[in-house]
């Protein structure tokens, strides 16, 4: 597995909000070590429906619990502040679930994180799961099961769809990382791919992309140069019209660039198996696992 495991101690920023509280409960029931919530002015309370203590600041939560990761559910305009707080309090991984963060704020936060050697996933992402061990975010845990497939994706529910197909075909997952659908974000494909490449628990990597930008093209080049394990890819938006934002802030074909076709072509040319449907992803993983390929 990569990045998180059963020993990972997690705080939730914005834990007393509706979404924060609901998902704190779900994470706990999955087995995640959620050791603290943080909501300014609510220190001393418990996260509603749980025994998890709430602190006023991340620094205090970290000092009292030894947590190293923060899952962030605060409203969009407060994420930059919350993220800087987490970095300054010594968190080594931020998982930003919040959707609608202004991208200039994201750019500032990622630059801060990079300069301090802190990893960040998101924003506008479902989080990360190491099946059977821990879940940080909003992914539905029941869909995943432990196994050798590493997943990295710009999408949320589409990731669940593909995880479902994989789990149904008995291809469990080592870790699944939802990097989020915003144009500017923390971890990008190459960083996650490298982690999977170095992870002894991961045999096959599934890369899920979508239209917009050129992250998949860059990932293709990166895989060709650096990744020894087999990769299966899926790109959503093959029939998307140009110039229209398809839900995600980052999912738009503009100036003829960022089409699914361009991405699929680049991936294929890098020796990556490209599936056309979620079910086909599972089929290609089956094939690869029965006939291991070495690049």
């Amino acid at each position: 597995m990569i990045l998180v495991n059963k020993n990972t101690k997690v705080i939730v920023q914005g834990a007393t909000g509706k979404m924060g509280a609901a998902h704190t409960k779900r994470m706990l029931s999955y087995g995640t070590q959620v050791v603290a919530g943080v909501t300014p002015g609510k220190g001393g309370e418990k996260v509603p429906g749980t025994d998890v203590p709430v602190f006023d600041t991340v620094r205090e939560a970290a000092e009292k619990t030894g947590a190293t990761c923060s899952v962030i559910f605060v409203p969009p305009y407060l994420v930059l502040d919350a993220g800087c707080e987490a970095i300054d309090a010594g968190m080594s991984l931020l998982v930003v679930i919040t959707e609608g963060m202004p991208p200039q704020d994201t750019a500032k936060l990622t630059s801060m994180a990079k300069s301090r050697g802190v990893r960040m996933i998101g924003p506008n992402c479902p989080g990360i799961i190491t099946p059977g061990q821990t879940l940080l975010g909003i992914l539905p845990g029941m869909i995943f099961k432990p196994g050798p497939v590493g997943m990295v994706s710009r999408s949320g529910t589409l990731t669940y769809e593909i995880a479902l197909a994989l789990s149904d075909a008995d291809h469990g997952q080592s870790t699944c990382v939802g990097i989020g659908g915003d144009p500017v974000k923390g971890m990008e494909y190459p960083e996650v791919l490298t982690a999977f490449n170095n992870d002894p628990d991961t045999e096959v990597i599934v890369l899920i992309g979508e239209i917009g930008g050129n992250a998949e093209e860059e990932a293709a080049a990166f895989v060709k140069e650096n990744i020894k394990k087999p990769v299966v890819a899926y790109i959503a938006g093959q029939t998307a019209p140009p110039g229209k934002r398809m839900g995600h802030a980052g999912a738009i074909i503009s100036g003829g660039k960022g089409t699914a076709q361009s991405k699929m072509k680049a991936l294929q040319e890098a020796g990556i198996e490209v599936a056309l449907t979620p079910r086909e992803v599972a089929e290609k993983v089956s094939k690869l696992r029965s006939q291991p390929v070495h690049r």
Partner: protein
């Protein structure tokens, strides 16, 4: 949100970026009150690009010609975009043209300057561009590095660097996705003028920008009616040519569903991402808005409940079927509270597909029958 040229120029002026003196008119007669001398320029205020090629910029050598041109231009629609008004400016004496913009660079994850030593260009296809990533916090030397890369020197070096700094301040202060001056004109008197400008405000940041409060409605005039309505409701609708209306939760899944419909021989009538965590009311609004599209024969609802609970969706479906008993629905529901949802829909006669491919195939075949 894209701004009109006249709006962008007002904002430029507020940040100390010089623009030609300009007057916005909505009736040809208003030209009589303008005393620039002749010739002057008449420019259609439209959202779309390609205005120049489409004849949306004209020069008038006298008032009579001006009024005739204004009348014609005011009724123009350019690449699907209605002319909102005309911007009238004196003709500028141009010694040189440049291109200058600030935007967010996805790959680098930070703002960048993009500039070129020639102006009026299609920046996506130009080879002459230079780019400089912009670190945070900003200091003006970044703009000087840009001016140097453009090969400028002397007074022009300083003037362009100063203007680039102002453009970045504007970009940051107003939470823009794009601030573009194209062309940036060097006049025969060695002054800089933003001859045309484009500003795109970041949609997510609009709520914290008091300047743009209430602007959204007036800037969606070119959107089809149902897309505009969806946007106001917080739904992401994109209308397409086919007859299968698609509603899902999550952008990636909606696109994947759309792709599968096409792959299995169907024609998507729209993309509608109802977003994560939609409740019964919002889901119902989503189905109703797709239902309003007369081209749609079949509605395919694909919900993989993570943050969205299946019972909320089932509630919306029960209500919708009550209102629209004859509408053909194909529903795939899976995930959180799926069991409750199934019970709620047990008496409705609606078949629930646990598998996405099966649901898509069903929708495609039903749509063929309907046609």
């Amino acid at each position: 949100m894209n701004l009109y040229e006249f709006e962008a120029k007002r904002i430029f002026a507020d940040f100390g970026i010089a623009t030609p003196p300009g007057v916005r008119i909505t009736r040809p007669e208003e030209l009589r009150k303008i005393h620039f001398g002749f010739p002057f320029t008449l420019k259609c205020q439209v959202m779309s690009g390609g205005r120049g090629k489409a004849g949306g910029i004209q020069f008038a050598k006298d008032l009579n010609e001006g009024e005739a041109l204004a009348k014609k231009l005011l009724s123009m629609t350019i690449n699907g975009s209605r002319t909102e008004s005309l911007l009238v400016e004196p003709k500028v004496s141009i010694a040189r043209e440049l291109y200058l913009s600030v935007t967010l660079d996805r790959a680098r994850g930070c703002p960048i300057f993009i500039a070129a030593a020639e102006g009026g260009i299609e920046i996506e296809s130009s080879n002459a561009i230079v780019t400089v990533p912009i670190p945070y916090p900003y200091q003006p030397y970044v703009a000087r590095d840009l001016a140097r890369q453009l090969g400028l020197s002397g007074t022009l070096f300083n003037k362009v660097a100063d203007m680039a700094s102002r453009l970045y301040r504007l970009f940051e202060t107003l939470d823009l996705d794009l601030a573009e001056i194209n062309p940036l004109v060097v006049t025969s008197g060695e002054d800089l003028l933003a001859l045309d400008g484009k500003i795109t405000v970041n949609d997510d940041a609009m709520a914290r920008q008091p300047l743009f409060r209430g602007w959204q409605a007036s800037h969606m005039v070119d959107l089809p009616e149902r897309e505009r309505k969806s946007k106001m409701l917080g739904l992401n609708l994109v209308e397409l040519d086919g007859n299968i209306g698609i509603i899902c939760n999550g952008a990636g899944l909606t696109m994947a569903t759309m792709d599968m419909v096409k792959n299995f021989g169907g024609q998507p009538g729209n993309f509608l991402d109802a977003g994560g965590g939609s409740d019964q009311e919002k889901t119902l609004q989503a189905i109703e808005i797709v239902n309003e599209n007369p081209s749609v024969k079949v509605i395919l609802l694909n919900i993989l409940g993570g943050i969205t609970a299946c019972d909320e969706v089932a509630g919306a479906l029960v209500e919708f079927m009550k209102r629209n008993p004859k509408r053909t629905l194909v529903v795939r529901l899976r995930g959180n509270n799926q069991d409750i949802a199934e019970k709620m829909l047990a008496d409705s006669g609606l078949k629930l597909f646990p598998d996405l491919e099966d649901a898509v195939k069903e929708a495609v075949s039903k749509a063929k029958v309907a046609v």
